[in-house]
Symmetry: C2
Subunit: 301 residues, 2 copies
Amino acid sequence: MSLLVTGSIGIDTVTTPFGTSENCLGGSAVYFSMAASYFCPVRFSGVIGADCPFDLADTFKGRDVDLSGLEIRQNSKTFRWKGSYHNKMNEAVTDNVELNVLAEKPAKVPVEFTDSKFVFLANTSPALQMELLSQIDNPTFVAADTMNCWIDGHFDSLKKLMGKVNALIINEDEARSIAKESNLIVTAEKILEMGPDVIVIKKGEHGSLMCTKAGDIFVLPAYIAKEVKDPTGAGDSFAGAFMGYLTKQGQVNTENLKKAIAYGTVMASFTISDFSLAGLAAADTKAIESKLEKLREVTQF
Amino acid sequence: MSLLVTGSIGIDTVTTPFGTSENCLGGSAVYFSMAASYFCPVRFSGVIGADCPFDLADTFKGRDVDLSGLEIRQNSKTFRWKGSYHNKMNEAVTDNVELNVLAEKPAKVPVEFTDSKFVFLANTSPALQMELLSQIDNPTFVAADTMNCWIDGHFDSLKKLMGKVNALIINEDEARSIAKESNLIVTAEKILEMGPDVIVIKKGEHGSLMCTKAGDIFVLPAYIAKEVKDPTGAGDSFAGAFMGYLTKQGQVNTENLKKAIAYGTVMASFTISDFSLAGLAAADTKAIESKLEKLREVTQF
């Protein structure tokens, strides 16, 4: 099984109490693919401008990440994000954003990717997500992310998308905005009624919650982290490991979904341990399995 | 083994999005004792004024709660608290407080309670908590709660108390205030350095975290609750079940501590399901064990 991701590649400048990382590699598709690559082959789809200083082939060297879907637009500029984290580091403050290529038409999914069975549509406008999805022949399991600007401004379009995807993987605040509800279990149930079979709500330092139409509920705390250097990309790393594990297993059932959440939790913990992709890229199977065991030890009674 | 609690009895008026409960029974010792009574005999110590409209003997009828330590001061008035909950219901807003008897000297612990082995000192000034503790001969396991006004205004006194107790059971914000640290694991470690062997940090809807000097870490989400009618007393119910379970087991070890946290989580969920003590008092062994199993099911992978 292989996993397709469509999402952003970004030039990030991030400030946290641990320092500033200027013009570093970021973007949802990048974090997602790096995390997923520990579990399964990844097909990457995204757009950069001619100004992009990063060699993604080098970034993913030695990993089974197929960059055929990386489009370089000579007359465009790469997406840039400048953000900072304060106090409890649970939420990013966006200091500046330049959409650049993200404001243009999305990447065309290469024809050799159209038979992908597991698909992740990273955050972009729901209309674009639908357009991307329509290029895939017959996917088995499609998950999508979204954010508040689409929930507030394009809700009808988002509702259509929700009717087409198997899973939504979003933040706590986004989930509450969609459901217009404060209780998180009720929020999850309301979102399930809008279409998806699985809703995963990411709560940052408080972990995550998953509910399914089949009636499964799963709640897991975040990995115990003594040092959070940079939370950027934690959510996309979570989603990457979640989808990567499911793709590897090839089957979406209660047990696999729970374990996918656990792996998502673990991979996010690598990401937050350092700036940009440094923590995530330094992981290996032994360290991943060891953290999974530790996660089990500190949560099971 | 029996468990002694010293704490408040209150006349509460609570407003939540579900309504207002006027002049209902509350107070830390009351919630604590009710929750603990499902696990072990409880010895109750606290003070009320002549105005108290509640018959505590009736409240605890059929339960092994020894009210010999209940002092009624004819010339005093009972503690009153008026509070409300908004939005996410994770934090109470205190609208009015009348300390009344709580501003006077504490209850005298009856001589027949002085051989108590498990002791919980509910929130009051650390100096009073020390005075109460000094009346107990040779306790095995003492836990205490505190709150921000003591952390901010009586920190030296609180530090002395922390050197005398085995466990501190406090809220997330209180823990961060004590440790002057935002990361919760580091917060816990810093508090352990101040004295207690066990630190339990309650995070409301996000569950709880326990760390021990022996190196145990345990993180558990809150019980999945679709309806939170009134969070008042959840923390004291948690502490009551936590201490009640440990008292019942008679031994404080890793396994018992983890299970005590799980039972604390379950009993808090009964409390928040209704106003005042209605939800907690309606629990029974079958419902408690069933919720414990459900908690295991939704958290284990």
